[in-house]
């Protein structure tokens, strides 16, 4: 049987599969809704910076007993904080009488945290010591409390800097604002990305989700599609036709790849259109990478197909494999933030390299030379997996 005939038959099978797919209305809707959900949920659950926090209910406790009947330092502190907050609208400050009441309100879930000025605040400042500010955090919500902590710390640091600047100017009136700032904070930190603009979390996850959806569609779609046909019996119809077994496999793979790519395009359109993701690199390279990702996963999909007897097992096996892969491949969380053994696992998953390469191209505008390592790994992985898969598949088809 010539390669041409094999291809011709596989195209017929792919056409049949895609016709079925497009006639399944609900399936089509889910095809669009699934990636949308994933983008929305993941994108909004993990806010990219503190600026997106607003109106956090925070308690304000002033226990300052003053020094020589003067509470000027604590009053200044509160006024400055209120001034800053009026501009950012980040916090909703509530006056509370004591620290124990703050803790009670946090426990009830009415407050996200508190700022406490201790009784010796003014006294410390007047006696030439540091004034302590206590931030009460809600440990049940580490994400929020970490954000509050870092935001408040930087606000307080800025307030401290301003105060120090003013005091230096009192000592040496000849200094202007700039040089007094230089005296207090000699180092000025500036950040500059590889490409202009500040990427949001969406820029980070969009390439990953794209790579994942497209590659998974083959790995999960293939076993499900084949075991489903085996179960309803239509597979026999193809098996008794005088066609090469490879045509069936190839046809199914083409159909699943198309399905995956359609989903990939949907994600891309959503990411660019709704979530403002900018694509810095070559769009054709993006698609080439997606196809390469599919290629690297085909073998794995075939092996799984060969070992699953029915659709239910196929689906369960998929879920079991998908979850670790989703989280270990750096699609949602940076790999660097994982323990070493997990990092080692992520290094053997092809999805890691596909999403990495895709991210480099989409976010950083990288070209082929910058992602050559990833490309080689994906190609080698694909070839090795297919070499393993084909004999396994042949054995399975003629039981």
């Amino acid at each position: 049987m010539t390669a041409q005939t094999i291809l011709k038959h596989s195209f017929r099978i792919a056409w049949k599969d895609l016709t079925e797919l497009f006639r399944n209305r609900l399936g089509l809707v889910l095809l669009i809704v699934m990636p949308l959900f994933m983008m929305v949920m993941v994108g909004f659950i993990y806010p990219s910076n503190g600026a997106s926090l607003s109106n956090l209910p925070i308690a304000m406790v002033n226990e300052d007993s003053g020094f020589n009947n003067s509470t000027i330092p604590s009053q200044t502190f509160i006024l400055t904080l209120q001034g800053i907050n009026n501009q950012t609208g980040m916090l909703t400050l509530t006056n509370v009488s004591s620290i124990s009441e703050v803790k009670d309100l946090v426990q009830r879930g009415e407050l996200s945290g508190g700022i406490v000025i201790p009784s010796n605040f003014s006294q410390s400042i007047y006696s030439g010591q540091q004034g302590t500010i206590i931030i009460v955090t809600d440990q049940s919500n580490p994400q929020i409390s970490a954000t509050i902590q870092s935001v408040l710390t930087s606000v307080f640091n800025n307030m401290g800097t301003m105060l120090a600047q003013r005091q230096i100017q009192l000592i040496n009136p000849t200094l202007n604002a700039t040089s007094s700032l230089a005296a207090v904070k000699p180092y000025n930190v500036q950040t500059e990305g590889v490409v202009p603009g500040t990427p949001s979390y969406f820029d980070f996850i969009a390439p990953g989700i794209m790579a994942m959806t497209v590659m998974m569609s083959v790995m999960t779609g293939l076993p499900v599609a084949i075991s489903q046909e085996k179960e309803i019996g239509t597979m026999d119809g193809m098996m008794v036709a005088p066609i090469n077994r490879l045509s069936i496999l190839l046809g199914k793979t083409i159909a699943q790849t198309m399905r995956g790519l359609i989903q990939g395009v949907i994600i891309l359109v959503l990411a660019v259109g709704i979530f403002g993701v900018a694509i810095q690199g070559n769009i054709l390279l993006v698609f080439a990478l997606l196809l390469l990702g599919v290629f690297s996963f085909v073998g794995l999909g075939i092996v799984i197909t060969s070992f699953t007897k029915d659709q239910e097992t196929a689906q369960m096996l998929m879920m079991t494999l998908m979850f670790p892969m989703m989280f270990l491949s750096g699609v949602f969380f940076p790999i660097a933030q994982m323990p070493w053994y997990m990092q080692d696992i992520s290094k053997v998953l092809p999805l890691t390299y596909a999403s990495d390469a895709l991210r480099k191209v989409m976010v950083l505008g990288a070209g082929i030379p910058q992602i050559s390592t990833e490309l080689i790994i994906l190609i080698v992985f694909g070839i090795v997996m297919i070499a393993i898969a084909l004999p396994v598949f042949r054995r399975m088809m003629t039981r």
Partner: protein, 339 residues
């Protein structure tokens, strides 16, 4: 082929692990014959069919179709055959025409020829009107007609039919039977049919192989098979006892002349008996226990009786219960069958 046999099966065995589904069977089928494999669910009929149609490899033995070995020359065999499986091989989301077009395109048939053939086949089963409707909207009878013509796209010399009337209403069953008969007579297509329906086998088949527990236990024409009963001193008696009790029934069962007993309902039993004194001893036994015989009839033997006579159990008590569950899993569905 030279000896007029289009199918030759020699010592065919198929094991699934420990379980032997087909146990060393041999038979030949003549060109143009309608050949039936009759037996209960799980007897090994479908497995035999799967091996013959290249879907499964035999564990031992060989099968040839048109002279081609089903394992070594599977592609050649596939060109000669068509299968109508118990599970319908049609895609619900494709239209009637698209289905036929898809399956037809897997054979190397010229486009124009295929188009013509599809139109003819749809016409043949009165589905031309529905050719552009999705098959999922069809009735079971229509779907089965589709399923049958799908197997005819390559004009097969041998058509395998696995329980073709299963789950069909009586009218659709008649239609399918007539269609098979017509196909056989007009095109000379050899037909291999598996069934557990005695009517199908009786009305259609030139020869019938009775299969039980993976073995062929009898193979002959329907008439000759029935002679096993009517030829000897075996009789079939329908007996109605107004006050039939389990005790009475077991007393009858223990009689020497009884070969097999089937209870049809609360008053009627079906007996296969032998010997000249059979009538007398049955009547005596029933009267002794104060049974009231309301009717007693000597029946013409049916294939069902033949089966009962040879195997000692009914076709209807399918081998299901005795089957290991592993088997069900592999074949997916024997327990789902509706009767």
């Amino acid at each position: 082929m030279d000896n007029g046999y289009i199918i030759e099966v020699k010592n065919l065995t198929k094991n699934f692990g420990e379980f032997t589904a087909v146990d060393d069977i041999s038979f030949n089928v003549k060109k143009g014959e309608i050949f039936g494999l009759l037996g209960p669910n799980g007897a090994g009929k479908s497995t035999t069919l799967r091996v013959l149609s290249t879907l499964s490899r035999p564990s031992k033995g060989t099968a040839t179709i048109g002279g081609y070995d089903t394992v070594k020359n599977d592609t050649e065999v596939r060109k000669l055959i068509g299968i109508v499986s118990e599970k319908m091989i049609i895609y619900n989301r494709l239209t009637a025409k698209e289905n036929l077009w898809f399956f037809g395109s897997l054979f190397n048939i010229q486009k124009e020829t295929l188009a013509k053939r599809i139109d003819d086949l749809l016409e043949l089963v009165n589905l031309t009107k529905w050719k552009d409707a999705q098959v999922g909207t069809f009735s079971t009878g229509m779907r089965q007609r589709m399923n049958v013509v799908r197997a005819l796209l390559n004009m097969p010399q041998v058509l395998f039919l696995d329980e073709p009337t299963l789950g069909l209403d009586p009218q659709s069953s008649v239609e399918i039977r007539d269609f098979i008969k017509k196909l056989n007579q007009e095109n000379g297509t050899t037909v291999i049919i598996t069934t557990h329906m005695m009517v199908d086998a009786d009305l259609l088949c030139d020869r019938i192989a009775i299969v039980d527990h993976g073995k062929i236990i009898a193979l002959d024409t329907s008439t000759n098979l029935k002679k096993i009963i009517s030829g000897g001193d075996t009789m079939i008696i329908k007996l109605e006892i107004a006050n039939l009790t389990p005790d009475l029934l077991s007393a009858v069962k223990t009689l020497k002349c009884i070969d097999a007993v089937t209870q049809e309902n609360s008053t009627r039993v079906h007996l296969i008996v032998h010997g000249e004194e059979a009538f007398d001893s049955i009547v005596d036994t029933v009267r002794e226990r104060n049974g009231k015989i309301t009717s007693m009839e000597n029946l013409q033997p049916t294939l069902e009786d033949v089966f009962l006579h040879i195997t000692g159990h009914e076709v209807r008590d399918s081998a299901d219960q005795k089957m290991p569950t592993e088997h069900h899993r592999r074949f997916g569905g024997a327990p789902k069958r509706v009767r």
